[in-house]
Symmetry: C2
Subunit: 340 residues, 2 copies
Amino acid sequence: MPELRKDPIVDRWVIIAKDRADRPQELGDRPLPRASAAACPFCEGHEDETTREIDAYRASGSPPNGPGWRVRAVPNKYPALVPGQPLEPSQHDLYRAFPASGVHEVIIESPRHLRSTTELSVEDLTDVLWMYRQRLLALRSQQGARYPLIFQNVGAAAGASIEHLHAQLTVLPIMPIEMSLALAGAEAFYRSHRQCVYCAILQHELAAEQRLVARSASAGDAGFAAFCPYAARSPFETWIVPLAHASHFETLTRAAAAELARIMKDVLARIESALDHPAYNYIIHTGSFDTSSQDHYHWHIEIIPRVTKSAGFEWGTGFFINPVPPEEAAAIMRSLHFAG
Amino acid sequence: MPELRKDPIVDRWVIIAKDRADRPQELGDRPLPRASAAACPFCEGHEDETTREIDAYRASGSPPNGPGWRVRAVPNKYPALVPGQPLEPSQHDLYRAFPASGVHEVIIESPRHLRSTTELSVEDLTDVLWMYRQRLLALRSQQGARYPLIFQNVGAAAGASIEHLHAQLTVLPIMPIEMSLALAGAEAFYRSHRQCVYCAILQHELAAEQRLVARSASAGDAGFAAFCPYAARSPFETWIVPLAHASHFETLTRAAAAELARIMKDVLARIESALDHPAYNYIIHTGSFDTSSQDHYHWHIEIIPRVTKSAGFEWGTGFFINPVPPEEAAAIMRSLHFAG
């Protein structure tokens, strides 16, 4: 059973997930196995190699756990968080731990052996985003569910261990430090400005344009803007933010999902072109399950190309050193032209 | 000129250091060049390939910037922080930046082409640690110097770009978030317990023994303990902590430097044996330059083997997932026997 442990000095938690361990000698740099469809547990026809499916979009009449699906959600086979564990912290003056209770699902994004989101059609990516929404709606009322995170790891340098395109959905029983810090910052800005800080950033970036990568032309309330953030931690880090204020991803409409799919595909194609298909993570930051709508928080997607290595300086300070100014990254991405 | 930029939402800074940039197309996974001594700018005889030396331990009579040295400090050729810049923040409602003013030095730890600290003799490593102390003492009274960090990156996966054994020393004009969080946690513990939290952890680990890796037998006040921390972020993460309370590394005595060299070499050899020579970082966490002695802070060294990859989950939450419980890592390291 994985365990959540709190650092005795700072408000940071780690998950000690022994069941996921290889033998220590096997840790370290390994290339991602370039599985062919024949050997891939996520490809259509291999449904018996995954855990049993929780949800799927399927051809009508096709039974669960067999072929015929377009998007498929299954429990993670090596979960870092396990449902249904009571939240009874161990009592110790210095050290606190409790069972890592929560949810850890995998969303398999295509029946075909795709390697990047840019290989999905806009229609298929819309379905994927719609499944994200559907899983969040299904999970938000679970007992003890507090903070949901959907993320994708593409490439070994981004932490992927399976090549076939998939996202992971975790639900944590506690608020993670990144979200606590963001919420505290957003609340402080809201108190002093009576405005959502993400809305203020959007306004600024749309007007200034030097960090803008793409924006919806005519999608109205279902529109999005993509820009490189002012304090980008990584070269070509890009955020995609809904133009209309909304704190929770799961309030997405079908029209907005389609527009988000269009802009995500466009932005990721620009990143792949500029950096020659880098490893990347994308992360959906959304409101916690114990709130429904917040004026000071604004859901968004952060795309982090993994082309620099964190070193002792980053571990020691929490700072990041970024060798590409976001203004330059955005200019390069704007200058790329695509047929599609 | 590199620039410090504050994130508009959270209290996190990035350094935009364009001068360090390759062309974006050249970013990404590159193996560390396995330079021979003939091609290495840090090897003895190549002193004209580095910036001019600031400090060195040399054979008596050998002139600066030539052969004859044992340890050598030079300014970083591609600094992320540059001395002597005024701290005038740009004024903007959302975005704050100022010149990245500070110090960025390289300490070359051997005239020979060594790749790991374990290849140094205890005597040579004592000299290296003594040079760390000497540089901190020299820099602590510089105008605007606030927070010093000494760290070592060994191996490409740990962010090293030059193979030849070296450490880096940075001095920041502001307190980094990692140190702010640690200081806040340590202060809170001190207020409620009237004890340094690191001293409390030491007591616990020395008594419990299950996470202990090594300890000084008879070094008295110059002794150290090495243990895997309770909430280890990485497999085999190990801290080395002085047994006697001290907030600032630069108060190290020569006897303590010699004992620290002995225990560092021993611990790093155990890590290299257990994980088959992993990439690693070590980081010296020490009190800030605007304080001289603090009852609630305790300097220490954190060794982070880089055998797991941070993925979307870590970026999104600030949590770490560690597949090897620190109790197991410590037991494995204790069980290893060395001739030396």
